[in-house]
């Protein structure tokens, strides 16, 4: 049963076109985003690991090494089951610093371009056989199904389509982003297809080949040699090493790194995949043995690796053969696309860009895209070339172990990134070189010597792989320990290590604003790209274009470095940021950037568990205590940058923590700048009753400060200062009001005494004048005497008024309410007010019926009027008119005092009747006047209302209306 070549070509091309369609539809959001971005989609895309070796070669491995074939599935599964050990911390690192490959990671950690370049070259050498293996499998299975198919034509057509696909969906975006959503969706679909195909072949093999599970078991019992062969060669001996090889492959194989650490994946994908991906691999491994036995049973002459295709062939089920072929096509195409993308990025970042970079005038995105596409094609076709070079094909399982042993050389360097800070670039180079030599000796040379007869049995592969790892790790450790580690490496080691968030320097940057960043980066990148990248980094870090805070600028540099790293690799990004965005003071490496530490702890909070999580809760609790403290708390670091600004301080200053954290105190607005700068610079630790003007109101605060000594600082340096600001303005106002009131009371008593003392002689003068007036007939003398009587009468009234005023508040329980002439009180109040020659001259106009009367106390009404007119006078311009009116209305008597002053602002209107509330200068008013008026009107069973402004257009004028009941 053979297929027509056209049938095979149409099926293969049709399937690949379907992949195009899925990727296209995902990129255009025709497939719901919920599906495209679902963690299950990302998890399935990680199934790219199960390439041709899992689909075809594992049957061959099962034949030769029994259960040894499971090592591949178990090894990769362990890497995901224990993701917190290696994958999760690496994911955080790669996401934070936008590292897209293992070469990026090594170049970043060991601060060496050469690290990236060597890893790229070594990976290229190791990965080419893997690509060749995929191409060979597709072409050979096509040849099995359609023997007349021209091998090279099938292989090259496959490569051509895959190249087109990779270029269209893997390197189509401008801006160097890695958001290949369509590609991820297509790869996930491929993973599903190959699983379904392999399971279908497995089920068919059991049913068609043996008639069910039971008969298969009986068939096995009749062939004990097959069951014994499952443990052939003591598979356990090499099982550990095989598992380690596949465990390492999860990180070290370029396609797995690309799929696992894609910066745009949902960070929870790893967690989601921790058991789902192992389940996927378990399902993939399940049909392998039934397929092997069914193939044996069928007696087919097809090589054992291609039994999945042979089953349908043997039992005359063409649909199954075609399905198996498509499954194999999925496995091969998925790997080639992803690995070529990963290798193209590595080559661009570590082979091309270090030699030649785009000029500032070039469209940098276009420049990068063109080269990435060329490299993609070059990588795929290099694999094609590799697969036709050997005269005789090398066995699939040998190629697999050769590639895995090469990847194993990255294990010591990778582990060191997270767990060993002493590791340095020299050690890494030495280890890699030593391991590579052993690898080449045992695995590479045989390929050139006797490719055709190469198999795993012909080389001591497990010993060789173990030896290469030992040599690598030993050289790495020894050289690292004996050579000098640079400051940059030490810093990178801290950044990468698991247990540290104390990263970054705290020095000021030369660039002081995002605009400076754009200007500085315009030189290497061009103005347009520089602006786009700075804006992107601002968005990522949630900062604004006008932000100038030193902390924010450091954060912006950090984000920008990460984004540039994603675009051009970490070495170039590091060079660019060091050269164009330098620290003005070189940075203070030894001191912690507290806001940055908090930012990072918050960002990685979900990673904290156990004691770390509890300590973090404790930190948050103490921080909350400081934030909620009813005293203003502000802490500054040694560079006088504000680190904390609590809620009480926010209420006092009206400045939110978000606006002020990261600013230096010299950048605060007055009066806080002067106040805090002087206090921090001064020697006194306590500064009582410091006054300043804020929003037209006088404020008084007590200031206290204390130095913060960092626990780890041994040289006695201060880490910063904490400042307490206690707002005592209200207490001060209250005290001033009470003192003033007390002083007025004393003056009142004095006035009463003086009035009483003056009253006696005045009475005497009046009596004498009356006597002269009554007893002398001389007209002129009588007239003069009469005037003396009038003047003394007037003086007596003034004295009486003074005495009454002084005695206000002495509300005698026996005070009786009587009918009071309102107009008389108005006149008397005017007379009293006019005595104050110090006050502003205003025209007091009285208007009303002379016989208007209310039921009350004349002295208290007089007092109220004096207070109201006095307030009106104070609010008026000199020479302005103050109108005092009284008239009867339907509800009784209305008495009003009206001025043309500035009016009462709405925010203080509700406070004006409160005792001691005043807007006048301290000492100018007691804040008791309107309170007294309110009390008087209440006692007279009246009502009081304030209308302000009376002139709505001008927003000026106040009218106080007292409404009394009829007498």
């Amino acid at each position: 049963m053979n297929f027509e070549l056209t049938t095979l070509a149409v099926s293969g091309c049709g399937y690949l076109l379907l992949l195009f369609g899925i990727a296209w539809a995902s990129d255009r959001h025709w497939i719901p985003r919920k599906i495209v971005l679902h963690p299950l989609t990302h998890t399935l895309s990680l199934g790219v690991f199960a390439s041709v070796w899992a689909y075809y070669a594992s049957v061959g491995i099962a034949m030769r090494h029994g259960y040894g074939y499971l090592a591949s599935y178990f090894g990769i599964s362990l890497a995901f089951m224990f993701a917190p050990l290696l994958l999760r911390p690496l994911l955080d690192l790669t996401r934070t610093h936008q590292l897209s490959s293992l070469a990026d990671l090594f170049a970043f950690r060991y601060r060496s371009r050469w690290a990236g370049t060597l890893v790229t070259l070594f990976t290229l050498v190791a990965a080419s056989p893997l690509i060749a293996m995929q191409i060979r499998a597709v072409a050979e299975t096509a040849l099995i199904l359609s023997p007349e198919a021209p091998y090279l034509l099938v292989a090259s057509l496959f490569c051509l389509i895959i190249t087109l696909f990779a270029i269209l969906f893997g390197a189509s975006r401008r801006g160097g982003g890695n958001q290949h959503e369509g590609l991820v969706m297509a790869i996930a679909f491929e993973s599903l297809v190959k699983l379904i195909a392999l399971l279908a072949v497995g089920v068919f093999a059991i049913n068609a080949g043996f008639g069910g599970l039971g008969p298969m078991q009986e068939w096995l019992q009749d062939r004990p040699e097959l069951l014994d062969s499952l443990d052939a060669g003591g598979f356990i001996g090499s099982f550990h090493l095989l598992m380690l090889l596949f465990f390492t492959a999860a990180v070290a194989m370029p396609h797995m790194f690309h799929a696992t650490f894609n910066p745009n994946h949902n960070p929870q994908t790893l967690h989601y995949a921790s058991w789902r991906l192992p389940l996927y691999f378990l399902l993939m491994s399940l049909p392998v043995l039934p397929i092997l036995w069914a193939g044996i049973e069928s007696g087919t002459e097809i090589p054992v690796e291609y039994f999945p295709v042979a089953i349908g062939h043997a039992w005359d089920a063409p649909w199954l053969s075609l399905l198996a072929y498509l499954g194999g096509l999925s496995a091969a195409s998925g790997l080639i696309i992803v690995i070529s993308l990963a290798l193209a990025n590595m080559c661009l970042n570590h082979l091309i860009l270090p030699l030649r970079q785009p000029a500032a005038g070039d469209d940098i995105y276009r420049w990068l895209l063109q080269r990435r596409r060329l490299l993609l094609a070059a990588v795929i076709w290099a694999g094609f070339g590799f697969h036709i070079i050997p005269a005789e094909p090398i066995s699939l399982d040998y190629i697999l172990v050769l590639v895995l042993a090469a990847c194993l050389q990255f294990l010591p360097g990778t582990v060191s990134i997270l767990y060993w800070r002493r590791g340095n670039a020299r050690g890494f180079f030495a280890g890699l070189a030593g391991g590579a030599v052993v690898w080449f000796w045992f695995f590479g040379l045989p390929v050139f010597r006797d490719a055709g007869s190469l198999s795993l049995e012909s080389v001591p592969w497990s010993e060789a792989a173990a030896l290469s790892l030992v040599v690598n790790a030993a050289l790495f450790s020894l050289v690292s320990l004996r050579s000098k580690t640079t400051d940059a490496e030490r810093h990178a080691a801290v950044v990468c290590s698991l247990d540290s968030v104390k990263r970054g320097t705290r020095g000021g940057l030369v660039a002081k604003s995002p605009a400076d960043f754009i200007k500085a980066l315009s030189k290497p990148l061009g103005a347009e790209v520089a602006e786009r990248e700075v804006r992107r980094a601002l968005d990522d870090a949630d900062l604004k274009m006008d932000d100038r805070r030193p902390f924010a600028m450091r954060l912006l540099r950090y984000r920008l470095g990460g984004n540039l790293s994603g675009m051009m690799g970490p070495s170039i990004a590091q060079d660019l940021t060091d050269r164009y965005l330098p620290f003005s003071t070189g940075g203070d490496q030894g001191r912690a950037d507290v806001p940055a530490i908090e930012y990072r702890i918050d960002a990685f909070r979900s990673n904290l568990s156990g004691l770390a999580a509890e300590l973090d809760s404790l930190r948050r609790y103490h921080r909350q205590v400081l934030l909620e403290l009813p005293l203003g708390v502000c802490s500054i670091n040694a560079d006088r940058e504000i680190v904390m600004w609590n809620r009480a301080l926010q209420a006092l200053t009206g400045i939110t923590p978000g606006e002020v954290i990261g600013l230096t105190i010299a950048e605060l607005n007055p009066p806080w700048r002067g106040l805090l700068e002087d206090f921090v610079s001064g020697e006194a630790d306590h500064l009582p009753k410091e006054s300043f003007e804020l929003d037209g109101r006088r404020h008084t605060v007590n200031l206290h400060k204390a130095a913060i000594d960092e626990a780890l600082e041994t040289d006695g340096r201060h880490e910063g200062t904490v400042i307490l600001i206690d707002d005592i303005t209200e207490t001060e106002d209250l005290e001033a009001g009470l003192a003033h009131s007390s002083r007025l009371a004393s003056i009142g008593q004095l006035a009463a005494g003086v009035a009483h003392e003056i009253g006696n002689p005045i009475t005497g003068i009046a009596c004498l004048a009356q006597t002269i007036r009554d007893e002398y007939d001389e007209k002129e003398l009588r007239g003069l005497a009469n005037q003396i009587v009038e003047q003394t009468g007037r003086t007596s009234r003034i004295l009486q008024s003074l005495m009454n005023f002084a005695h206000f508040g002495e509300r005698s329980a026996s005070a009786r309410l009587e009918t009071v002439s309102v107009y008389d009180c108005m006149e008397e109040a005017r007379a009293l007010i006019s005595l104050d020659k110090q006050a502003r001259e205003v025209k007091i106009v009285l208007d009303g019926d002379r016989d208007t009367a209310i039921h009350g106390d004349s002295q208290r009404l007089l007092q109220a009027l004096v207070n109201l007119i006095s307030n009106a006078r104070d609010a008026s311009e000199a020479g302005a008119e103050v109108r005092v009116t009284c008239h009867r209305n339907g509800q009784g008597v209305e008495l009003a005092v009206e001025d043309k002053g500035g009016g009462i602002p709405p925010e203080i209107r509700e406070h004006v009747f409160e005792p001691f509330y005043t807007t006048k200068e301290p000492g100018a008013g007691t804040g008791l006047g309107l309170s007294l008026v309110y009390g008087t009107v209440e006692d007279f069973k009246g009502e009081i209302a304030i209308i302000s402004p009376t002139d709505r257009e001008q927003g000026s004028g106040t009218r106080v209306v007292l409404q009394f009941p009829p007498p």
Binding site: Y67, L282, L498
Partner: protein
Amino acid sequence: MYLSRSMLILMAVLYLLFLLSVDWIAQAGAAWYRPHLAALAAIAAVALTSRERESDEF
């Protein structure tokens, strides 16, 4: 920081079980899918641990 206590215990237990299960798997005449059953048990254990972490974190 990344490894929870339950994960550490699980790693130790799985390794010990792996060593113990080798003989059980390689027993003469045993069902061919025994390794798969062992793997399934390990996956179930990880799934349980993973669910516990999910409830802690989210």
